[in-house]
């Protein structure tokens, strides 16, 4: 009888010790908190910036060295972060309803925007580096002109929290999605609502443009991934999963996309199959790291297991 009990204990211990987090332990960046709400990658793929409680940390992707810390801008946890395409500016949005624009090189605060419109849930710089778009938990999204330091537009069509915002790569379209299950597209020439994309049946968590802005991919709490053809105004469900999809990243050609789920699953859909990894924590962000060698590498931010740099070679490939 005792032998059986020992066997079960040993098995449980083994399962416990060899948890997925430990397998990828050496992939971790050093942060004070393991609860990373957001991360972003510089345009050249060499610097990654992540939230770390009330501060931001910038790391070298190559050797995981800490390049700098951005402190003193927020009184509460930072929820989202973005880096400008030219790499000069970093923006952060927090639970304290403030947006801070930082100088990347000096880590000094350039501008602090008190939105007073709820917690800042997502943000993106425009491709021309001139504007910052940020979404809030009180269903509003705001467009801010960085040079003139003025609020350009307040988008108020959303009915619930804004969870994801995006600029098309040409800067002509703004996409806003959130809890009301609708993706709204606005033209940046007049900021009028162009299109409402309806199909999701639960909160949308992540949206990305690809194929030179002809398509948009989205995922959310309905566990589905939708591909939207913007020119034809059509969509198709390309994948269903078993848990909330919290984040998506896709290459511009659309051949490779990665998702992260609430249950800690990471899936990279590849032309030859799907690379899988399982962590113990929800995945808040997946970002493809551009590699000239063609190797598939991703940065993964998690709510509980820190920030990681994963190589697809170490993941399980399923057909």
């Amino acid at each position: 009888m005792m032998k059986h009990i020992y066997s079960i204990l040993f098995l449980l211990l083994f399962i416990n010790i060899s948890s997925a987090s430990d397998i990828y332990k050496e992939a971790n960046f050093t942060t004070a908190s393991k609860f990373i709400r957001d991360a972003c990658l510089s345009e050249n793929g060499k610097v990654i910036i992540c939230t770390d409680n009330e501060s931001l940390k910038a790391f070298s992707v190559e050797n995981k060295d800490l390049l700098g810390s951005f402190r003193g801008g927020h009184r509460d946890n930072i929820i989202c972060v973005a880096i400008s395409p030219d790499g000069r500016l970093v923006a952060s949005g927090s639970s304290d309803s403030t947006v801070v624009i930082w100088d990347f090189y000096t880590q000094n605060i350039i501008k602090k925007i008190q939105s007073a419109t709820g917690k800042i849930s997502s943000m993106k710089f425009s491709p021309d580096n001139k504007s910052l778009l940020f979404g809030c938990s009180n269903s509003k999204a705001l467009l801010y002109n960085i040079k003139e330091q003025t609020l350009v537009k307040e988008f108020t069509d959303q009915k619930l929290d804004v969870t994801s915002v995006a600029f098309s790569t040409d800067g002509n379209i703004i996409a806003i999605a959130g809890g009301d299950k609708i993706i709204r597209l606005y033209n940046t020439s007049n900021y009028h609502l162009d299109t409402e994309l309806k199909g999701h049946t639960n909160w949308i968590r992540s949206i990305c443009f690809y194929k030179n802005n002809q398509c948009l991919i989205s995922g959310g709490d309905d566990k589905n991934i939708f591909e939207w053809n913007l020119s034809k105004h059509k969509f198709k469900k390309i994948k269903s999963h078993n848990d909330w999809i919290l984040c998506i990243d896709i290459t511009n050609d659309g051949n490779l996309f990665a998702i992260g789920t609430m249950s800690g699953s990471i899936k990279i859909n590849y032309i030859f199959g799907v690379y899988n990894a399982k962590l113990n924590s929800p995945i808040s962000k997946v970002i493809f790291i551009p590699k000239e060698s063609g190797l598939i590498e991703i940065a993964v931010a998690t709510l509980g297991s820190g920030l990681m740099h994963l190589n697809a070679v170490n993941m399980i490939l399923s057909k």
């Binding site: 609860f35 113990n280 924590s281 509980g304």
Partner: protein, 227 residues
């Protein structure tokens, strides 16, 4: 000794690995209750001994359904529905309430103070709590023996059923163990002090000491988990 060490290591390792990825705000508790009424079997009724009604029930089984919403990291509030069935009335030398049955149905607003959720470590799995809840409900009595003659009360001699209002207070302490975000188990002890206004018996106050065990189910995921 080795077995104890082995078990300790096991427990520590299991506790170290986190089971809940995020704090769940809205939880449903389903529990089974067993316990006993406190108090003497007999009480002094103006110089004569009379058998207590509640204290002599020997089989007490109940169910509870509770929904709690996490208001702050340390405080939850909600509503509890409790059902307690008491049978097998036994008192030496007395047969006053033999075969009687008492059922109580309570609706209780609950305030729970508990340990703070942590993303890792002991308090990721374990929650220690204390709770207090006013009780309002009904006591449904089924008295078998016709030994009463209460002036001004009209008996239906064929049916000794009666429903009375009960009110009181319950306090409890316990702990909860989470297997995952979705499911956990809890155990707690509680003490109910209740008043029943009924002419069927004289001891219209009871104290029930209960042991509750059950499961915690998460019925909804928190949408705003990042904020």
């Amino acid at each position: 000794m080795n077995k104890i060490i082995m078990l300790c290591i096991f427990c520590v390792l299991v506790i170290n690995a986190h089971s809940q990825m995020l704090e769940d705000k809205n939880n449903l508790y389903l529990g089974y209750q067993n316990g006993f009424y406190l108090g003497d079997a007999l009480f002094n009724n103006q110089g004569t001994s009379a058998p207590s009604f509640y204290s002599n029930f020997t089989l007490n089984n109940g169910l509870e359904v509770k929904n709690l919403y996490n208001l702050t990291p340390l405080v939850s509030a909600g509503l509890k529905f409790g059902f307690l069935n008491s049978t097998n009335w036994q008192c030496r030398n007395y047969e006053s309430y033999n075969g009687s049955k008492s059922s109580t149905i309570n609706l209780q607003p609950v305030i729970q103070l508990h340990t703070k959720f942590q993303k890792n470590g002991l308090y990721n799995r374990v929650k220690i709590f204390g709770e207090i809840s006013p009780i309002i409900g009904y006591s449904m009595l089924k008295i078998r023996n016709n030994i009463f003659d209460i002036i001004g009360y009209k008996w239906n001699y064929d049916n000794f059923n009666r429903t009375d209002l009960i009110y009181g207070l319950e306090v409890g302490v316990g702990c909860e163990y989470s297997f995952s975000n979705k499911i956990g188990a809890f155990v707690n002890i509680s003490r109910q002090e209740c008043f029943v206004s009924t002419p069927l018996f004289l001891d219209n106050r009871y104290t029930f000491l209960g042991l509750n065990i059950g499961v915690r189910l998460n019925i909804s995921k928190v949408k705003r988990f990042k904020y």
